[in-house]
Each structure stands twice: as structure tokens, then as C-alpha cells.
Subunit: 439 residues, 4 copies
Amino acid sequence: MRERLRKLLPLAEENAVRYRRDFHAHPELGWGEYRTASLIARRLQELGYRVKTGQAVLDGKSRMGLPEADPMRRQYDRAIREGADREYAETMREGFTGVTGELGQGTGATIGFRFDIDAVPVRETLDPDHFPARENFTSRHDEAMHACGHDGHAAIGLGLAEIIAGLDARLPGRVKLIFQPAEEGVRGARAMVEAGVVDDVDILFGLHIGLGARKTGEFRCGTRGFLATTKFDAHFTGVPAHPAYDPHKGRNALLSAATAVMNLQAIPPHGAGRTWVHVGSLTTGAGRNLIPDRAVLVMETRGETSALDDYARTYAERIIATSAEMHGTRCSIVRMGEAASGDSDEGLMRRVHEIARRSGVFPDLKLSNEGSIGVSEDFTHMMKRVADRGGRSTYLLLGSDLVGNHHSPQFDFDESVLGRGVEILALLALELGGESHEV
Amino acid sequence: MRERLRKLLPLAEENAVRYRRDFHAHPELGWGEYRTASLIARRLQELGYRVKTGQAVLDGKSRMGLPEADPMRRQYDRAIREGADREYAETMREGFTGVTGELGQGTGATIGFRFDIDAVPVRETLDPDHFPARENFTSRHDEAMHACGHDGHAAIGLGLAEIIAGLDARLPGRVKLIFQPAEEGVRGARAMVEAGVVDDVDILFGLHIGLGARKTGEFRCGTRGFLATTKFDAHFTGVPAHPAYDPHKGRNALLSAATAVMNLQAIPPHGAGRTWVHVGSLTTGAGRNLIPDRAVLVMETRGETSALDDYARTYAERIIATSAEMHGTRCSIVRMGEAASGDSDEGLMRRVHEIARRSGVFPDLKLSNEGSIGVSEDFTHMMKRVADRGGRSTYLLLGSDLVGNHHSPQFDFDESVLGRGVEILALLALELGGESHEV
Amino acid sequence: MRERLRKLLPLAEENAVRYRRDFHAHPELGWGEYRTASLIARRLQELGYRVKTGQAVLDGKSRMGLPEADPMRRQYDRAIREGADREYAETMREGFTGVTGELGQGTGATIGFRFDIDAVPVRETLDPDHFPARENFTSRHDEAMHACGHDGHAAIGLGLAEIIAGLDARLPGRVKLIFQPAEEGVRGARAMVEAGVVDDVDILFGLHIGLGARKTGEFRCGTRGFLATTKFDAHFTGVPAHPAYDPHKGRNALLSAATAVMNLQAIPPHGAGRTWVHVGSLTTGAGRNLIPDRAVLVMETRGETSALDDYARTYAERIIATSAEMHGTRCSIVRMGEAASGDSDEGLMRRVHEIARRSGVFPDLKLSNEGSIGVSEDFTHMMKRVADRGGRSTYLLLGSDLVGNHHSPQFDFDESVLGRGVEILALLALELGGESHEV
Amino acid sequence: MRERLRKLLPLAEENAVRYRRDFHAHPELGWGEYRTASLIARRLQELGYRVKTGQAVLDGKSRMGLPEADPMRRQYDRAIREGADREYAETMREGFTGVTGELGQGTGATIGFRFDIDAVPVRETLDPDHFPARENFTSRHDEAMHACGHDGHAAIGLGLAEIIAGLDARLPGRVKLIFQPAEEGVRGARAMVEAGVVDDVDILFGLHIGLGARKTGEFRCGTRGFLATTKFDAHFTGVPAHPAYDPHKGRNALLSAATAVMNLQAIPPHGAGRTWVHVGSLTTGAGRNLIPDRAVLVMETRGETSALDDYARTYAERIIATSAEMHGTRCSIVRMGEAASGDSDEGLMRRVHEIARRSGVFPDLKLSNEGSIGVSEDFTHMMKRVADRGGRSTYLLLGSDLVGNHHSPQFDFDESVLGRGVEILALLALELGGESHEV
């Protein structure tokens, strides 16, 4: 079987690079991945997977941070123009851009792989030194760029899909490929979890290029120290009035918002670990000579654990509510995203380490990242659901030489790692699929 | 009768100066005027007045801004040591330091005169240029000084008492002399009003040396534009905790208080007139490395009208309550003083102007101050009650050359105005007493 | 001459209504009045006036609150499409949209009339009850509406121009018509003053429909109590950073701005009169998980006098500068508009009153508004310059029944007042022009 | 030698308990330890030590957080009344309450031991369950209590002094006992360091009862993770004024202080580790109707490293300076205490562990505390100086069953640990003194 794998790899690798460049040139922001997701679904279908999309894999109400209806429609239309699969795209209208594909009938374990597919709102550099510029596959969309490597994740997913399809008959259990929308802003995972997507998965893998593994050849078999986070917007609504004639008739939303901003900084640290509260923007809507009647805070809390994030968020919500009341304004808080804290499963990390060591694919192999990873990932929702149902999961870090930081206009990774990614995931599918999920 | 008055005046004037210097040397803060009030009561009794003191002239629950029990006891003991009338002082224990004296049986109107008798918490200068220093009657008490002229008011009251007593048989109606404690901080008048002290008064006069009349020879027959005000303290109570170990267990009273201070400044102006909100002090009680669990704001609101003061105070109270809730502290608000807005009665002012003009006592005579007086006086409570019962009142300004500002350690007025004050009040008592109170 | 005037009036009135409706249908925001101003210039030229436009009547550097280059260009192109006079418009490119016209050679006084011509950023109601809707001349531009009556002012100006032209030979002195751009936001007058437009004017009139005169038939010969005001934007520039990774590398512009907002409320009132400080909007530019590196406050100060406005503005500028320094951000303040305090000239008001009384045009005639007008007008800059050079000026209030408030989408005035406006101004030109300017 | 030690121990232990109770009954706050220090000096002299006190062991200018002159004088007088050694106390006047004693002539290493001797400002409970109450040695001073075990530290120091004196002839090197004043508030160590007290010490030990070792029988051979800290007061000075008459003439110190408080909370966290900024109290000095012209913040910063503390303190100082400037007040910052970050020396900890293990004194022996100790100690200044001169140091934790928390009125430790403390320190002195200081 390893031999068969070795035969299939070169083509899968070549295809992965091709997929990656296509996705990179057509980046789509969260909940608008109509082209990306529909093409993935089509390809999975061609390969023989049992494909599900749209409302079958996303619980509508659990989606967070959706764009407004108008831009969403424009994204859809553009996707169609740029070659989306019309049939599948149709199933994804209004922000249902998730896909799963399943293969195998074996009695062994169900091995899940999750790939996130959305881009970030950054305008890509056109600097001739930038590899995608040199190779002519930079983003065609001003508002978006694959500046976090999710183009690579999606490509690895399709590469893996090809290999697995080629090995189908030999699969001891089942393989489930999960393509998740809207990971940026930690908005999408919960809706897939609530739709039951990971309920039948025994062993679940997430994967990220870079992050705590910034050299080609590195591989980390798990991740420790995901931060819990909540993303939300606070909307203050007041009453406009002329600031010199009848100021007492106004209800000043800016006062409420500025008071909230100052006091949000003052949430006491927690003795049990670190918390963060951050306001990314404050926007009010009135003119120069009117008491501002609207204000919006775009913000987030984080904690080393979910309990710490709860502490910070609850305190923040109280500050927002009392800041409103203080100046007679009303406020509402809209949840825009969330992720739990979490660590990879110890036993599974060790199992992965053993398999990876034997494979010889990675010269720099470690059990896990050093220290806390210090970022948030909504993969943690899936980890939690899998664990609650008796399964295990880990989040793999695929090392790559990087240009620029994640989310910067200069970001680029080393395409040669796509093949290594496909290979190690295929090995994991084969070797763990035969096991009972009691790894 | 004017002739008889002319005969009595020189002695009354001489005595008034003597009283003034004695009061000046023994200043007593509000609700602690045991010596001042008991000596006034004794003198009124000697002159034949029907005297009332203590709980007969002050409603206990309506008193505001009382000192703590301990300092009050010490003030009492000192008063006794310094020659208070023991019998009357006994009736005034625990802050019941008011006096009224009534004379006359006539069927004419009841003419009331109100004099405030308390000192201010200022340490008097001992500069040899300071008149009381030169004449050797500076304050014997470090914590207090008659720096607002109430020593003069009380002295005029006793001088007037002597004159009226000398004219007794000729009184067309009745004269009621009201000596009020705790005018500073507008704390005392309400309790006298609630005890019914002005309920039988047809025409009521208040009087102040200086303020809007800063030259000897000036006289203003009334006052316009008293500001309404509320004095109160806001107490925040939190929970102490160590700021690095377990800061999340604390409830930070300083955060609540500082948030309140900043937001109190932000109360919108009112289209209908001016308001003021002022925090005079903020004090917290914890050490350097403890989360402060107590904070007190000493503050006041003002308004051009009582309605405007209500607006400011109500908004301020909401800010205080929400500042507490915001950081999980508790708060309570204690009323420490209050005065209404108010203006002297038009008709009465004109009547006074006519009498004063005929008397020739004052070379610079005007109906009223110019513009708004811009200060607060709890005499307004009495004005309101008198008006509610169909009577009239006015607040007279007795001009005097002044040294220093009111409430400054250098404050001094021209003693020669005491005689003028006694004379004009006596004339008013005589001329208006004969009238039905429909002036 | 009055007879000749009477003959000319009906046509002028009819034309004024026509002009008004045309301007109303084509409202242009401040510094973009290419169509309005160029058509006025053309008409003045036709009538024989000595016309000046563009940089001849506006000092470029003294203009405040200009739009960005792009929207300005789009406004210009639209004006051309909608029938602007190409020749004159060409002289006004890039926001030089002022016009003056002069007539007369007499040795008498130079009488100036100032008319403001810009619209406000309000979308006009299309309610069938709205008179312009019924008569089919509502705004063709979504972003603007003549909701403050400046369409009427410009129309009166042209009506007056026709009358004066018809009386030309008889003019004792000279008449100067001044059409000012960008009065909204008090942005335009200073630039006309700095270009010397009023330097040769002996008697200057400004005029407004409505404001303190809200009934047809009212006329106020002057205005008291214009508030001084300064309009400005404060721009804070910080450094972005990730709020959890390397927050210490950021410089948080929102913190600077929120601190400024809170402290701007805390500028102490001034003992000499009222001041106002108002922040109309606060906008920051970063995303949810970035330390905001830009913030803009759109704000204004006001004072009952220019000195009081200076006090408030200077304090505000210090708060802004120290709020920046406090958090390591940079700030710059851009002046967007300004007006001085001011009152109409007493003697001139009385002269106008006499002329208006004799004319019998207005049943409800008064010397001035009651109390302070409580608004700001950059006409005050012109008043000041005229007074500095020995002349006199007054700001007339032309009463009109109004629908809706000024600046509301429902605003409308009674067109019948246009004729009355033309008539009284013509009378003033004739009767005062003969005088030496020592009125 | 171990045998000789065993013979001396029982009496030393008995005496230590006696010393401890005497110190406990006469607690003295930092810089006022006249009785404690003078009796220690006297006892050391009796035992044959070379004793230094006062300015010989404390650099005057480097002392921080001294009390005012008056209370200091009162503390001195009380100490004399309560049996201080008059001769030594005389050398300590005005806050020079340090002592060192040296013994031994050997050529071996100089082993230093530092004991802190001051009490905390807490009123001791008189609850009959409280051991000192039961045994009748509670604090005779209302304002102070030995609630942090420094009475035990001083007693162990004297017990050790006795043992060492008994072993004198056998000492391989020299022993230096350092009794430091004013450890509370981290105020005293720097002045001893600047006086050169540890410059000749090769190996230095500090010791604390409790903290990270809260069971009798525990012993930690070193301490990791002292927090760096700076204690300071910020004084704002403004200008008083009446809040309604002439508020613009005031400079409001409370506004500066409240703005500082709010913004101090907003100092961004540092990516390299934790920082804390804490305001323990805010006090302003004016009356209700005066603009407050004075405000004092009592505060501290902390950091996991000295560099982090520097970051927080520098940012805090900038906030304070700009808050003053913002409202036209002046400010000054007075340093009240400071401690560096620091960890015990690895090699020395291991050496101590070995000696302690062999001694069998402690059933629960560990190299160090778990995690960071999370408190500050000015012993870190001594550690740094010793390391800078090539020596080594460690801070020992002597476990004890505790009642109440450190600094609580109920605090008590288990007296039986005094003997264990004396014993282990004596062993360290003997075993390490023979070594070259290259441990």
C-alpha cells in the first residue's frame, strides 16, 4: 500500500500545486467561497466521494459574522462569472459554502480531515519579487488575498482526496474530508459542528501551514495552547439632537462608546491566567453638529482558557450595558465569532509522531509547538465535539519557509510543502484507519 | 417713633460691634453653634422675647450634612468651656443649634428676619494688617473662621432685637427673629422650614453683608438669580484584593469613582439654562498594593432653576449608579445640603426701596443686584414656604467695603455697616408691620 | 424712483420664483456650486454688472473644509452636464465658486448685499404634501437639498440685481452683490474677506429667510447674539500591531481619541459666558484584531463671544495634543470652518427700521430678534472687516411661514416672501446709497 | 562540629521563641524599627560580633518611602519608652534602623544572611483563638502588627547569631548577619546595597517563613520568579477656584488624576511577559465647592522582569505627565520603593538541597517553589549586587503551617519552625564557609 501511495504521489502533488494557484488567484472571503467550495465539491464527486454541501453541512443559525445580503449576492455572481460549478454553487447560496466528502465502507475507524478555505481581507502585493506575481497567479480580487495559506490547505485536501480515491479499495475504515468556510474570524466551525459533521468521526485532524513551524522540513504532531476567543460587535443607539440648542434631548452614543472603550481596558487581570480585551474599531455616524446617535465597537476577548475568556467577555458585556444605561442609550451585542481553548490529544500526538518518524518525510519532527501557540482557531469547536463523543483529535503544523507574516500582503509559503502535506495525511489515514479508534 | 429709634440706635450699634467681635473670636461650624446660639437665646430672653430653641425650631430628620457624633461632642464641650449658656446649650445638644425669638402682640403683620450664624472651615490669617488681628479678636479655633460675615449677621440680629425691644409697645404687629444654623453648605434652612418656623410669617427678610454689594453705602433691596443646588456624597463600596495575585476577586471602588468623575463632566448642557456639576473631592481608602474597596465623591450640582438642578442631579445619580454596577461595586448617595432657585418678590423690593430711599441711610441704593447673583442660599427654602402660604420675602444685600474674598483667610468687612444694617431693618419692621401683609 | 421700483417689482418677483425653483432642483454642496454660481455670474453680466468670479473673489488658502479632489471633479462635470455656464464655470474649477457683481458710478456710498448659495447634505423628501414635490422641482441630487433656504437667498439676489439694473441711472452710489459659497459649516466667508471683497463696502447687508422670524410678514432689522464657532477635525495616527502577540509595539489611536472625547467634556465652563465643545463623530480604521492606528474626531467649539470660543478651542487643542502624546500617537488638527461672534450695528438697525416702517411691506416689524440668535454665521467675518474699515452692517431676518425645521428633509418656506425680500433690499439700496456712509 | 551544633540548638531555639514574642509584641513599621534594631545590635555586641549600625550600613539618599519627620520622632520616643537600647538607638535616629554583625577571621568564604525586621500596618486581631492572644504577646501598637513573619526572621537571625558565636573558633570563613529595615514596600534593601553591605559577601541567603511553603516540614532551597516592581506616588498640583463663578481660573487636579487612573488601566500588555499597573489610592484635598487643587495617586507597577517593569513604569510616567499637562496642572513623581526581578542561583540551590537532604531536617524538601513566586522582594537588589561581584545567592522558603494569609490580622505561623530555621542556616554557614565561594 505504501508502494501504491508512492506511485500516486507525484501526480497528486502536481495537481495540488495547480489547485493552490487557482484558489490563490480567486480568493474568497468567509461565507462567500462559492467558487472555491463548488469546485471542490465537483472534484470530490468526480473522484467518487459521497458529497454533501450547503445546509446539509452547515447549521444556518449557528453561522456567525455573515456579510450583508448585497455584498453576498455580488460575491455569488462573481463566482459564477469566474467559473464556479453552477449546480453546487446553487446549493450554497446565502452563505452556505461548506463541503464534505466521504469515502470507504470499511469497518475501521472514520478518519476526518478538516481544511479551511477562506481568504483574508488584504490586498496582495504586486511586487515582482513576490512569487505569485512572478508566476502570475496573484489575486484577481482587490478586497481579498490568500495571505494565511488556506489556498494551500484546500489544495492539500484535494490532493489527499485523489490519493485516497486511488487507494479506495484498500481503505480499512472511512475517510471524511471536511472543507470549512469562514475560519478567519473563527466564524464557521460551530455551524459545521451543529450540523453534526464531526459526530461520526473517530479521529480528526486539522492542519496549518506555518504558524509555529516556519521552516520547510518541520512538522509538529500537535498543538498546545489555543486561546479561547469571542468576537463581537457592540451597537449603541442614542437620540440625535443639536449640541447647542437642545443637547439635553439627545442621547449621546459616542459618550457611551468612549466610556466603554476606556473601561474595557480596566477589566482586572485574572489570577488564573492571561486575558485580553481589544477594541479594533469604533465608528459613529453623525455629522459635526449633531449629537451622535449611533456607535459601533468591533471587538474581541481572549483567554488562555475558555473560562478566562468567559470572565473577560462577561465583564466586557457588563461594561457595555452600563455604559449605555449611563447615558440613556440602548445597546445590543452581536456575536461575530468564537473559538474555545484547547490542546491536541496527547496519545494521538504520540501516535502521529511514531508514524511520521517512520515515514522519514520530515527532518525536523517534534511532538508539539513550544510554549502556547498563542492564536485562536475554531477547529477547537470540532476538537471538543469529537472528544465529547469519545474520539480524539490533533492539529498538525506543517512547516514551511515563509515570506512575510501571516496576513501580510507579502505572505507566501514554499509550494514544495504541499506534497509533504498530502503524503503525511495519506499515511495517517491508512495507518490509523485500521485501528479501532481507541488509539 | 423714628425719634425713639434714633435715640436707641447708638447703643445698639455699639453693642452690635461688641457681639460681632465676640462671635468672630469664637467661630463655630454648622450644627456646632452651641455657644453662639445659646448666648443669642439668653440675650433674647433677657430682652423679653418669647424664645424657642432646639427641636422646637428644627426638624431633626430634615437636617443635612451633620458632623459625626464625636466631633459634635467635642464642639459642645468646648462651647461650654468658652462660656456658652449651659441651660440653652443643653436644649441644643446633638446639632439642634437654632433659635427664634418673637415680640409684639399687635394685630398687624408678622415680620420675620432671618440671620445665619455659622462659620466656615478656614484658618484665619494672623497678618498684623488684618483688622481682627490688629484689634485682637481673631478666631480662637484653628478649624474655623467667620470668613463670610455671619458674625456680622448675628450681631445685626441682636442689635435689631434691642431696638425692637425698646419700641415694643409701639409695634403694630409682631416681629420674629430667626437665627439659623448651618447655612454654609445649604444644610440648615430646610429643617427650620419643616419645623414650621416661617409658617406664621407674612413678610420675611434675609440679609447678607457684601456679595453683590461690595462698597460701604450700597444697599440692594432684593436679590435675583439664586442658583438651585444639591450637595451630596457618593459612597462606593467594593471588595479588596491583591492586584497581582487575585485581582479578579476584587471590586475596584476607585475605578467606579474615576469613571463617574469623567462622565459627570459629560452631562450635556441643557437648552433651557445653565447647569453645573462639580466634584470637590475624591478619596479612596486602601493601601498601595490593595484593590481599593472604598471611594467617596464629595460633590454638588447647580442649576439656574430648580428644574435644571433636578436635571443635572438626576443624570449625575444615574452616572454614579451605573459606574458602580459597571465594576461590580455598590454605591449609596447621601444628601448633604440643598437650596432652591429663587428671586426676591418684586412688590416687596419696591416697597423696601421706597422706605430705604426715604430713610436716606444709603447713598447707593438699587432695587436689586445686577444680573444673576450666581450663588446658592438655603434662604430660598424659606422664601418658597412663605410664598406658598401667601406671604412675601426678599433678600437684602448690605454693602460693605471688603478685604479679601468671601471664604478667604483675609476676609473682613467694614464694621460701620452693622449700624446701618440695624437701622434699615428696624425701619422695615416698623413701617411694614402696620400693614396688612398685602404690601 | 419708488414708482419706477413699483413697476419693476412684479417681473423681478416672478423671476425670483423661477430662479429659486431652478436652484432648488439643482442643489450643490459648498465649494461645488459650479452651476449655481456660473449661472448667477452670466445673468449679472447680461444685466450689465461688473462681474468677478473665482480667484478674484476667493483667497485660495483661506478656504476651509474643501472636499477631496475626486468628488469635486465629479461635481464639476455634473454641473456642466446640467447646464452650467461653461465659460464662467471654467474660472471656478477646484472650488472657487464665488461671484460678485457691481453696478453704479455715483459718488454716494457703496451698499453691499451678501447672499449664500450652497445646499446641505440632506436627502429631500418626496412626500406628495411637500410643496416642491407637488410643483415638481425637488432636488435631482441624492446627496444634497436646499433645506436652509439659500435657494431663496440666491433668487432674491438675482431679483434685486434686476431691479437695481433697471434703476441704474438713478443710483446715488454703488451697489455690490456678493454671492458666497460654502456658508454651511461656516467655511466660505473668510476667503472672500481675505480676497478683499468687502473692503470697499460702506454698508453691508446679510439676510436669512426664517431662523428667528418664522411667520410670513415678519421682518427683523438686525440680529443679536451670533455664536462664535470653530469647526475642526483631529486626526490621530498610531502604529498597528497585533493585540495579543505584540501589543506593546502598537500605538493605539483609538485610546488617544477616546481619552480626548472624555476629557473634551471636562473643559471647565467659563465664568464670563457659555461655551460648547462637541464631538460629532469618531471614526477609526482598523479591523477587529489590530490595534487601531488611525482615528478622526469631527468636532466644533462654540462660545457666546469669540474670546470664549478661543478659550474652549485652545483648551480642546491641548487635550487633543496631550491625548496623542499620552499613548505615543501623533495628531494633527485641520481647521474646517469658523465664524466670529457678532451683533448687528445699532444705528444701522434703527435706520433700516425707519425705512421698513415707512415702506409698509411688513406687518410685524422689529428692531431685532429676541434674545441671542444662538446660531453661527460666517457673515460675522464680513461684519468685522466692514467695521474695522469704518463701515456698518446688519443681518436681516426675512420672516416666512415654514414647513419643517431648517436642515430637515421636509423644509420649505413660503415663496411669497421672495418678492418682499427683493423689495425691501431695493429700498435699502436706494435710500441708503445717497447717504454718506455715516448713517 | 555537627555535635557541638546539636548541643547549642535547644537553647538557641528557646531564645528564638522568646525573641520572636518580644518583637511580635512591639512591632515597628519600616524606618521606625528603633527598638527592634537597637536590641539586635546590643545582643550581637554581647555575643562578640563586630557590629555596625545607622549610616554605616544605610546610604541615606537611597532610602525610599520614609515617614514624615513628626511620626518618625514619635516612633523613636516610644521605642525608648519601651526599652530600646539608648546607645544604639541614638545611632539610628531619623530612620537609619539597619544593623550588621560579623564574626570569624577564617580565610574561607564570607557567608551572609539577611533578615528583614519590620512590621506591617495592620491592627492585630484579639480573638482568643489567635495564638499570640492566647499566649499574651499580641501587638501593643494599634497601627502595626508582625503579620508577615518578620518577627520570626529577626528571631531566627538572633538564634543563628548565638549558634555561630558558640562555634566561632571553628568557623572556616566569616559570617555576616544583615538585619534590614523597611522590606515592606520594598524600600530598604537598596540603601544597604548602596552602603556596600553585601560587597564582601560571597554567598548570600535570604529567608522567608511561609509564602510558597505553607506546611511545617517544607523547605525550598531557592525561589524563582520574583516580580520586579516600582512603588511611587504621583502628586498633581492645580489651582483652586470656585466651580460656578470662575471655573476657568482653576486647574483641576482631580481631572488630571482621574484621567491618569483610567488611562493607566489602558497600558497595553507586553508581548514578552506580564506587567501590572495598580493604583492603590487616589486622594484629593479640596472642599465640596472648590476646584480640587491637589491629588495624589499611590501606586505601583510590576513586571515579570525588570525590563517589563521598566516598560510599564515608563508608560505610566508618560500618562501621568500628559494627564497633568492636559488640564494645566503640575505633577511630580516620588519613588517610594523598588525591587528587581530575580531568581535564585541554580548551582547554589543544588548545593543547599544536598546539605538539607543530608541533614534530614525537612521531610518535604524541594529545589524551589513551583511556578513563579509572584511576589516582590527587595532582597533582589542584594542578589544582583552579589552576582555583579561574582558571588551567589538564594532565597530560602521555610515552610510553616499558617493561620490566615500574610498581612491579615489573623496571620500566625508555627513557632516550631524557628528552630528548624536556625539549624539549617547554621549548617549552611558551616558547610559552605569552608569552600572557596566557587560553589
